[in-house]
Structure formats: structure tokens, C-alpha cells
Symmetry: C2
Subunit: 174 residues, 2 copies
């Protein structure tokens, strides 16, 4: 059985809208996701770099993120033909561990929690495919990277790209 | 650079003495580590199975475990010639996440936390070597398993065995 590793933030969990709303409220700005196309908050507001992630250290931030459209249904279908692992770069925000675990148990209760992986450098992941919105994880990944479109990667080329979970279904279950 | 993945409990952190002390205090027993040779508490006290891990859900349990003798020095030496990842089966005790992270930062501050991996099924680990006291993790591991002696595995054969961290040094740095 082939194995698919799946990233959480911006792939299963809709992270950016909440993150951006916190930023706009705190600094009285009106940035939209379009303003972040191909870039990051810390690159367009470098003087605020230290402040930008402070709210992420609140363990509850990750607990109520919306589920990405169709991800539950498609991952359930994939899990019948592939071995599914969830691989999230949680070490960047250690306060998120428990909230991320509980979020997965709530929304993806059909997955085995022995297949949850909280890591940093994803080159440690042994899988045939990695669905991720951050192409840097593909550089040393031994399998095939599948780039899940997010504001960050709209200009990235050189990888199989999927724009949404229906595209993922098409790629793996066509 | 070859990569070594290293388990935490019973390899870097001395888990069993504290676990056993809790058990003996709670159930007024006098079990020793010798009583656990080749077995587990839940196998020799099956009627207490549900009770045995209750204290592990206290997040502080993992925070002050003693460091295994020589592990700091040897892992520091290994890190100069190998890429080191810490791979712990934390999903079995989700309450342990933060304590395990803090413990690693306190005692192994020279390691990069991007190389910490909290997982369940270790077949997801992509490394050349895995130092672990639980041989079940070697079954589907793609690299070489190195069995670190603990009460659990004294009767296990078929793997390279190391009894302590000086043996690990000898294996990798001889």
C-alpha cells in the first residue's frame, strides 16, 4: 500500500484567514489574502516580524481553525487505498501540540493517531507522496511532492500542483 | 551525512524507575526492574491495566525524568559526524508533548528542535539508523535498527544490541 503524508496548515486546516484577521485587528490594517500572494506577512511587514507570531503561542489558536473544503471526504476516500500519515511542522510552534492533536481527533477521527507526526524538518518523512503548501519541504523529501496551492506558493513552479481537494482526488483516485 | 534517529524513553530519558515507583506507591507493591525483565507491567498485572498509565496523563510526569548516563556527551559527539533526529512515540501519551519538548530543550539544547519528531508508528521515519529499545519499531523501518537494552527487550535477538551509550559511541565512532 502506497503512503501519502499530508500537511495540516493551509492544506487540511484553513490557517491564514484567522492569522490575518488577528494581524489586521492588532495593527489596524486591512490586508487581504491577495496582498500575501507569493509572500509572507513577515516579508511585507519586516518591522513587525517579532510581533507577528505572538498570538500563535496561545495554545487555543490552532484548536478551532476551519477545516479545508472537501478535505474530510477526500482523505477518507484516500485512506481506503493508501496509508495516510499527517505530517505537520509543529516544532515551529510548540504551544500548538495539544490543540493540533485535538483538532485532528475531532475532525479526522477516522484516522489512526499513531499516524500523526509532529516534526520540523520533513526530510525525516518516509512516504511515497507529500501533499504540502510549502515547497521547501520537497527539497530533501525522498518521495514525490504535491504542491497544494496557497497564497505562499502561487508563483512556485516545478512540482505537481493541486488547487483544492477535488484536484487531490483526481490525482490519486482517477 | 548519514542520519541517526534516536528514541527518548529508556534511551535518552530514564523512564522506568519513576514509572515503577508510582506503581509501587499506588498499589503498595515492591516490584523491581528485574521483575519486569522481558515483560511489561500490564502483562504481569493485567487486572490493573486500565490504572497503570493514569499518572502518565499528568503532563509533568515526563518533565523531570533523569537523563540516561553518557547520552548527552555521546549524542553531542555523534552530532558532529551524523545528522541527529529525536524520534519519540509521543502519540501514545498526547499529554506528554510539551513536557517532552521542554525536556529536550533543557538537556539537549545543542540539538536543533527542527529535528525533533513526535510520532506513533516509526515506519514513517526516514533515517539510516534508529536507536530504540522497542524492536517493534524496526519491523517496517527502512534503515538499520540498533536495539538499546532495556528491561523490555532483554530476551530479544536478531538486532545489533547496545547496552549503554558507551556502546553506541563504540558502534558509530570506533
Amino acid at each position: 500500500m502506497k503512503r501519502i503524508a499530508i500537511d495540516m496548515d493551509e492544506v487540511m486546516a484553513d490557517f491564514v484567514p484567522k492569522h490575518l484577521a488577528y494581524f489586521n485587528r492588532r495593527f489596524q490594517e486591512k490586508l487581504t489574502i491577495e496582498d500575501l500572494h507569493g509572500t509572507r506577512l513577515r516579508l511585507i511587514r519586516p518591522h513587525l516580524k517579532e510581533e507577528l507570531t505572538k498570538h500563535l503561542s496561545d495554545p487555543s489558536f490552532f484548536r478551532d481553525l476551519p477545516v479545508m473544503k472537501d478535505s474530510q471526504q477526500v482523505i477518507k476516500e484516500l485512506s481506503e487505498q493508501y496509508e495516510i500519515f499527517i505530517t505537520t511542522a509543529a516544532m515551529e510552534v510548540p504551544a500548538s501540540f495539544t490543540a493540533k492533536y485535538e483538532w485532528l481527533k475531532e475532525h479526522f477521527g477516522f484516522l489512526n493517531d499513531m499516524n500523526f507526526v509532529f516534526c520540523g524538518d520533513k526530510s525525516i518523512i518516509n512516504a511515497d507522496y507529500l501533499i504540502d503548501d510549502n515547497a521547501r519541504h520537497f527539497k530533501r523529501f525522498s518521495g514525490q511532492g504535491i504542491l497544494f496551492t496557497s497564497h505562499l506558493n502561487v508563483n512556485v513552479t516545478g512540482y505537481v500542483r493541486v488547487n483544492n481537494w477535488q484536484d487531490v482526488r483526481e490525482f490519486f483516485l482517477r
